[in-house]
């Protein structure tokens, strides 16, 4: 460690005072009513975590109601129907409205500071996702007050959730509401992936990334691949409920197990989607508390990646008792045990770090919650290995043993680290620390309460008590154990209440809190303002605040990168993904109403569809699209030329192609679309293996003649060629191109026409989508293609409008590049779909 001289630093000092004032002005948080337009990560991140915590409290209250009902046998405190609604809403809210949003919120709140970026690269996208989640989540939760809440469990298994057994709109609220909230989660994931890969400070190579950034990168990648499966599942079930397309009805070739496959392909990774960021947070806090670097940094990275990957190979262990083949049982039992290896690596690494720093390890409130997490999570992991053993799972399945196991994993693995996080990172957004005294009370009450509530459930379950029962006979010897669990639940709730009192007494949003109160080594504890750090540091270590002497003062004096606002607007530094070399200055959007209107319109569209108010829903959808168009019209700003970001470094302010951050966002979006389509292909082939007798040509109308798919494919190819030509004929800067607009419109028309021809061909054969699972799948291919074609159509027309107004040219071409990328993907997906729908049945003969 050596004291750098001023000439070693990227910039000279002292910096002009006006620079700081300009940064404050540009990044100022809107006040009063305009606070709703804010996009700064500290504002929307705090709002996000606050909303997630509100849902935690609401779902927790539902848990207390359930525990009160189950405290004694033969209890009539809640009606059976209301109990079903409550346990469904509790699980759904905890998983979809609390756990995933809470960790995503921490990503939005902490990552820019941890990476010393001014903000994540798409701040309005974050704000859109957050408002969509808040509006949609509140409406969904409120259904419990109107007897409209779903009652099929948080997993919504058909056939129970089919129209025949779940009439009314209750299930539809789950299907449309949750499907929509997952779209918001995907938007957040795209933001996080591009943010972690491209907005790191210079010098922060892959090997120097904070573990939380690694965890969030893997978390977001898992969302990209896992969530599309459940989005497809919710689409299929909603379509079956509304239009009678029989994807899950066995009598017409469907299979209820298809839902379980799709749901758990999402649902099991979901557990790790929740756990990995929490593990990342723990890996950040333990070194600080022990005042020593994390032991086994590389092993932890390996463990995070391995857990993320292997979690996709475990979904069938939720289906061991459904009658699947012995070979599948063996595969997934093995995989379920294998995933404990990377989890174990992390636990041992944390223990080793604490041991390495045992002379200095401080028992603070975050430390207590971390120790509580280790105790509870390890117990949950051990029972996880037990239920991975197939014969044991047959005994414990659907019993209270599983309820105990999943709460030990999820509460231990996520809630305790989250509370540690609240205490540890509160100084980042609060001008006051939270109370150590109240925090210790909160911890002990929660720890004792949790174990009192959930440990007895292992025994209740092994004694045969099934889960999801409204009440039970008093003579089953379950009363005393249930009474203990209920007492524990209320003790735990008291702990949460103490935390809320602590928040009310001490949490004050604003600057001026203690700087680096824990003596942490990472960048989020640099001096911060609304603009994040005054200058973006050059990083040479994993714990720069420990290893780079005087870094905080240098950054505050503006001696590192981008100490000002050279374009006069909001901006941050984009660096290369592997070596973190500065590449360009990203011009970012500021506050706006557009994302808020778009979020409200999107939420209204989905929720109004639920109650079959189609006309108003469509109007809200159109409003949302219009708001998105206004929003994106403001994004592609003109090139400002090169600007000085350091003494010897000038960077461009506009970038296209693979170096551009928006290009990567589009690639990630295409991965989402690809995952959705792969889930569809799996569903198609799965239903064929289950019911080959309804597949064409044997059990359904013969396929259309080849002229139809050939024409459809030709249109897709022609459209692709038109896009290529349009890309080569983009005008010079300052010129309009009506010919280019025409080419884009023609290409979009070709995409739409290809779907119309495909549907026409099947209509001609008399194939009715409600007649069999095969027919439903054939039409579903067009539904999915139509969905992406709709987006392509809007993007092409949007790019065409910019061409016609001289705002798109051969240099300023990001809008076109994004439209073209999605077009190529959609064309490829369309061609593959034609091959599947027309080729596969012919292959079968």
């Amino acid at each position: 460690m050596s004291e750098p001289t001023n000439t070693d630093l990227p910039n000279d000092g002292p910096r002009p005072e006006a620079e700081l004032e300009e940064l404050k002005r540009i990044w100022a948080t809107p006040r009063g009513f305009r606070l709703f337009t804010a996009v700064n990560n500290t504002v929307v991140g705090t709002l996000y975590i606050g909303a997630a915590f509100l849902f935690f409290i609401l779902a927790g209250i539902l848990a207390l109601l359930m525990r009160t009902q189950l405290a004694v046998g033969d209890n009539q405190f809640l009606s059976q129907d209301l109990y079903n609604q409550i346990f469904t809403t509790h699980g759904t809210t905890m998983m979809f409205l609390f756990a995933v949003p809470a960790v995503e919120a921490l990503g939005v709140l902490l990552l820019p500071q941890m990476l010393a970026a001014r903000d994540l690269p798409f701040p309005r996208l974050s704000a859109f996702a957050i408002w969509a989640y808040i509006i949609g989540g509140l409406v969904f939760f409120s259904t419990i007050f109107y007897d409209m809440a779903p009652k099929g469990g948080w997993f919504m298994y058909p056939p129970l959730t089919l129209k025949e057994y779940s009439p009314g709109d209750n299930a539809d609220f789950w299907l449309l509401g949750i499907g929509f909230i997952e779209i918001s989660a995907i938007a957040g994931a795209i933001e996080i992936i591009v943010g972690v890969l491209r907005t790191r400070p210079p010098g922060m190579t892959l090997a120097r990334m904070p573990i939380f950034a690694w965890a969030m990168l893997i978390f977001a990648a898992m969302i990209v691949f896992a969530f599309p499966a459940v989005i497809l599942a919710t689409m299929l079930l909603e379509i079956e409920r509304t239009f009678g397309w029989p994807f899950f009805t066995a009598a017409q070739g469907g299979d209820a197990l298809l839902w379980q496959h799709l749901f758990w392909f999402f649902g099991h990774p979901e557990v790790y989607i929740i756990f990995l960021p929490a593990a990342g947070l723990v890996s950040m806090m333990i070194p600080t508390m022990a005042q020593t670097p994390l032991v086994g940094y590389r092993l932890i990275v390996i463990a995070l990646i391995a857990t993320g990957f292997f979690s996709f190979g475990l979904w069938v262990h939720h289906m061991f008792t459904t009658g699947i083949p012995g070979l599948s049982l063996a595969f997934f039992s093995a995989a379920s045990m294998a995933v404990s290896i990377p989890s174990g690596i992390q636990v041992f690494s944390w223990i080793a770090t604490m041991a390495a720093g045992r002379q200095k390890f401080r028992i603070t409130v975050p430390s207590l919650f971390i120790l509580g997490f280790l105790f509870i999570f390890v117990l949950g992991g051990l029972t996880g290995v037990m239920v991975a053993v197939v014969p044991f799972d047959f005994q414990a399945h659907d019993s209270y043993f599983i309820v105990a196991h999943l709460h030990y994993v999820l509460v231990g693995g996520m809630v305790f680290p989250l509370f540690a996080t609240f205490y540890y990172w509160a100084p980042m957004v609060s001008s006051r620390m939270l109370s150590e005294r109240l925090g210790k009370w909160a911890f002990w009450l929660m720890f004792i309460g949790f174990n009192t509530a959930f440990f007895p459930m292992h025994i209740t379950g092994l004694s045969g008590m099934p889960r999801r029962v409204w009440t039970y006979p008093s003579n089953m010897s379950w009363d005393i154990l249930n009474s203990i669990s209920t007492v524990g639940a209320f003790i735990m709730a008291t702990g949460v209440l103490v935390f809320i009192i602590d928040l009310i007494r001490n949490f004050r949003v604003g600057e001026g809190g203690p700087q680096n109160p824990w003596n942490a080594g990472t960048l989020e504890f640099l001096p911060n303002g609304v603009y994040s750090t005054r200058s973006i540091p050059h990083v040479t270590s994993r714990e720069p605040l420990w290893d780079q002497a005087g870094l905080a003062e240098q950054v505050e004096q503006g001696l590192h990168y981008l100490p000002n606002a050279p374009t006069g607007g909001r901006e941050t530094l984009i660096t290369s993904a592997i070596e973190a070399k500065p590449q360009y200055v990203l011009q970012m959007p500021g506050p706006s109403w557009t994302h808020l209107i778009a979020a409200a319109g999107t939420a209204a569209f989905f929720l109004l569809l639920t109650i079959k108010q189609v006309n108003i829903a469509v109007a809200c959808g159109v409003l949302a699209i219009a708001a998105c168009l206004v929003w994106t019209w403001q994004l592609d700003r003109p090139d400002q030329g090169e600007v000085q970001v350091a003494r010897n470094l000038r960077l461009p302010t506009y970038m296209t192609g693979p170096l551009s951050h928006s290009w990567w966002a589009m690639i990630v979006l295409m991965l989402v679309a690809g995952s959705l389509y792969l889930s569809f292909i799996f569903s198609y082939l799965y239903l064929w293996t289950v019911s080959p007798d309804v597949w064409a040509p044997a059990g359904s109308p013969a396929l259309p003649i080849l002229a139809y798919p050939a024409a459809s494919a030709a249109l897709l190819i022609v459209g692709t060629v038109l896009m290529v030509v349009a890309g080569k004929r983009l005008p010079r800067p300052g010129h309009r191109s009506l010919a280019g607009t025409g080419l884009l419109a023609l290409a979009a028309f070709a995409m739409v026409a290809s779907i119309v021809i495909e549907l026409w061909g099947h209509q001609e054969t008399g194939l009715n989508p409600a007649s069999s699972s095969y027919a439903a799948m054939v039409y579903m291919a067009s539904v999915l293609q139509g969905q992406i074609a709709f987006v392509v159509l809007i993007m092409c027309l949007f790019a065409g409008a910019r061409l016609a107004t001289a705002q798109l040219d051969n240099r300023r071409r990001v809008t076109f590049d994004n439209a073209a990328l999605l077009y190529y993907y959609a064309a490829a997906q369309g061609l593959f779909g034609l091959l599947l729908v027309h080729g596969f049945p012919r292959l079968l003969g």
Partner: protein, 126 residues
Amino acid sequence: MIGMDDRNSSQQMIGTLVFILTGPILWAADLTAIYGGQSSLCAFEALPQGVVGWLVIATSVVLILADIVAIVSPLPLFNLLVGRPPPPDQRDFILGAMRGLGTLSALAMLYFTLAAVLLPACEQLR
């Protein structure tokens, strides 16, 4: 424009990430081959059950061997994917992460394959 000294950073990014994930990608291919491929082959009834079993085992062996080759000699693969050697200051991290993940993946593939060796391939198909 002084900072633009890594114009190939997109290839470097994709190549490096794919390189680190070599083991898990092979593992995913193994899972797909065993769980998806085996199910489809059995459903087609085009091949005798014994042949399907051997195909599954052969696929797994090939993928495990590919993984081991990558672990033992990673630099040719890195150069192939990225087009240049790893950055010196990250070489140990990148190679170590790839080897660690490759080893875990090899173990997982071995575990899967054992099931295929021990159990009949096409019974109780679903």
